[in-house]
Amino acid sequence: MVTTDRRMNAITLDNILPLVFLKRTDIQSDIWRRQVTLERGNTYLVEAASGTGKSSLCSFIIGYRNDFDGTIRFDNRDSLELRPGEWTELRQRHISMLFQELRLFPELTAMENIEIKNTLTRFKEKKEIGQWFEALGIADKMQSPIRLMSFGQQQRVALIRALCQPFDFLLADEPISHLDDACSAQMAAIMQEEARRQGAAIVVTSIGKHLPLSYDNTFRL
């Protein structure tokens, strides 16, 4: 098991705005052009309508894109100053991301998609991963190629992959868009349990259906 010696306590979004919105004057948002601090241990919901930059926000935080104005700080470190090695460390140990587009590998099986992450972090035992497959109702799909699974099933696999690493912040970009209520509740329970165990924050984005969690704070994007 990998234990992180130094935790990340806060992500600060300081006056940020996607560059494509720079010329817009009608922006009404709790995040764009505001000072927002996300703290470890809390649960946040980012509500958004389509086209308000929800996935852009996630991309900015995970370092996939940097076409924004303003500053994102991890504790006191400016995200634009991070070197590739530091981003790797951050993605392995501090911020885990459940992508809206899932980013699973279609040529691998469900289990291999998990293993490709877990062999990197060596964070979870096979047994615990098996229990998650069981709890999420896809135990029989473990060895199925991911491309043959439904999007809802793939969402569950993507969640398990996101949990196979130490993290201080779990970013879930529309995690339940294709899941029924029972499944969403099960997913919420697993996420909350793992976040509690790690003392981590959960940041969920949603355009409609909310992951049923008790949120400390809700932002409208």
Binding site: R65, P84, T88, L108, L120
Partner: protein
């Protein structure tokens, strides 16, 4: 790593990689083989004459029809002419050739091979002009052996002309040195035999050379009354390229014995040819390397989304680049090994052919060609590694 490889091996184009593999193999083999061939053959062509130094000139008087019908002096150098030559500023030392004035016969045989005999003659120059171990180049009356230096062409005539047609074994210089020859000397009412042994070969002296002491002793013994005026002289000069030498020789009707300049010319052409072939090999290697880079770029392009995801879930750029770096380096290493093996096989083949013609040939070492092969391998692999990493970095920076 297994899973990453499973992901990234998708879209690998076997025909493209095979194309690179064989093209680069061919290129590397050509480079190594041309260099090795040059190194193997060069010593045979540019064999330096260790016995006679290059700043020694061998002179004789021009032979004309008048000499032949006896109306001119017999082409010998008079004492006055020698004195004049000695006083020239370019002359460091002057020595004369002294020839045997009696009949000489020689025979030798290898075990189981018919005896070969011939009439011949001896000549000598002052010992100071001969660069041989003085222990070997020495004679005093009563010695069992006469040391002899033969012209290298004699061995060539034997090996390529005589031995070939008579199905006799070809002889290397080393073997000839171990054969005892029997020399017969007739004159002054005597007919005596001695053993002789070849102690060296010369490319520059067209004569059968023996120590000066031996000539003096044998001429006195077998031809006491003969005239021993020299017909050839050996001259040590300060600078062989001095123009004054040539004009002096022309003015006095002296001729310089032609050196083996041809060997230098052939070596030059060999070097040019080897360079051209090597350049062609390098060009093939370079083009194949270009194919490989295009192929890898295409591969990275096709798999870029997967690589981006790997980076986003926490893989470092180095780790994502590793499979392709290992793939290319592994292929380059295999190419180096195969090229080396092919080099050894080809070399064994041509050395066998060459040794049949040049028995004394020893061949250069493989080290130089191997070093060039390894350098080519290192260069191609390092550039591969850097360029693959560069592409992954571009994916990291979202530029592709």
């Amino acid at each position: 790593m297994r899973l990453v490889w499973k992901l990234l091996r998708r879209h690998i184009s076997l025909p493209q990689l095979a194309g690179f593999f064989f093209a680069n193999l061919l290129g590397m083999l050509i480079v190594m083989l041309s260099l090795q061939f040059y190194l193997d053959v060069k010593p045979v062509l540019s064999e330096e004459d260790g016995l006679i130094r290059p700043d020694f000139l061998i002179l004789n008087k021009r032979i004309s029809a008048l000499n032949t019908i006896g109306l001119n002096s017999a082409g010998t150098f008079s004492e006055r002419e020698l004195e004049e030559l000695r006083s020239q500023p370019f002359a460091k030392r002057v020595g004369t050739f002294t020839s045997s004035q009696y009949k000489v016969g020689c025979s030798f045989g290898l075990e189981g091979v018919a005896q070969i005999g011939t009439e011949m003659f001896f000549e000598s120059v002052p010992d100071a002009f001969v660069d041989v171990d003085m222990q070997k180049w020495h004679f005093s009356p009563g010695d069992a052996f006469v040391p002899i230096i033969l012209p290298r062409t004699y061995l060539a005539i034997y090996n390529f002309g005589f031995a070939q047609s008579q199905n006799l074994p070809k002889l290397s210089e080393g073997i000839v040195g171990m054969v005892d020859m029997t020399v017969s000397m007739r004159g002054n009412g005597m007919n005596e035999y001695m053993k002789a042994r070849v102690v060296g070969f010369s490319s520059r002296l067209n004569t059968i050379l023996v120590p000066e002491d031996f000539i003096r002793w044998s001429n006195a013994r077998y031809a006491p009354d003969a005239d021993t005026s020299p017909t050839r002289i050996i001259l040590e000069v300060t600078n062989p390229a001095d123009d004054d030498i040539l004009s002096y020789l022309n003015a006095h009707g002296y001729e310089q014995e032609v050196d083996k300049l041809d060997a230098g010319r052939i070596t030059f052409f060999l070097r040019i040819t080897a360079s051209i072939v090597m350049a062609v090999g390098l060009l093939i290697s370079l083009l194949s390397f270009y194919i490989l880079m295009l192929s890898i770029y295409l591969l990275v392009e096709k798999n870029s989304e997967k690589m981006r995801t790997l980076l986003l879930i926490g893989y470092s750029p180095a780790r994502v680049a590793l499979p392709y770096q290992l793939l290319t380096s592994g292929m380059n290493a295999a190419i180096l090994l195969l090229a080396t093996a092919a080099l050894c096989v080809s070399r064994a083949f041509y050395m066998q052919k060459l040794l049949a013609v040049f028995p004394q040939m020893s061949g250069g070492s493989l080290l130089c060609a191997l070093a060039v092969g390894c350098s080519l391998f290192a260069f191609v692999s390092i550039v591969n590694i850097i360029m693959i990493r560069h592409r992954i970095n571009r994916i990291w920076q979202n530029k592709d």
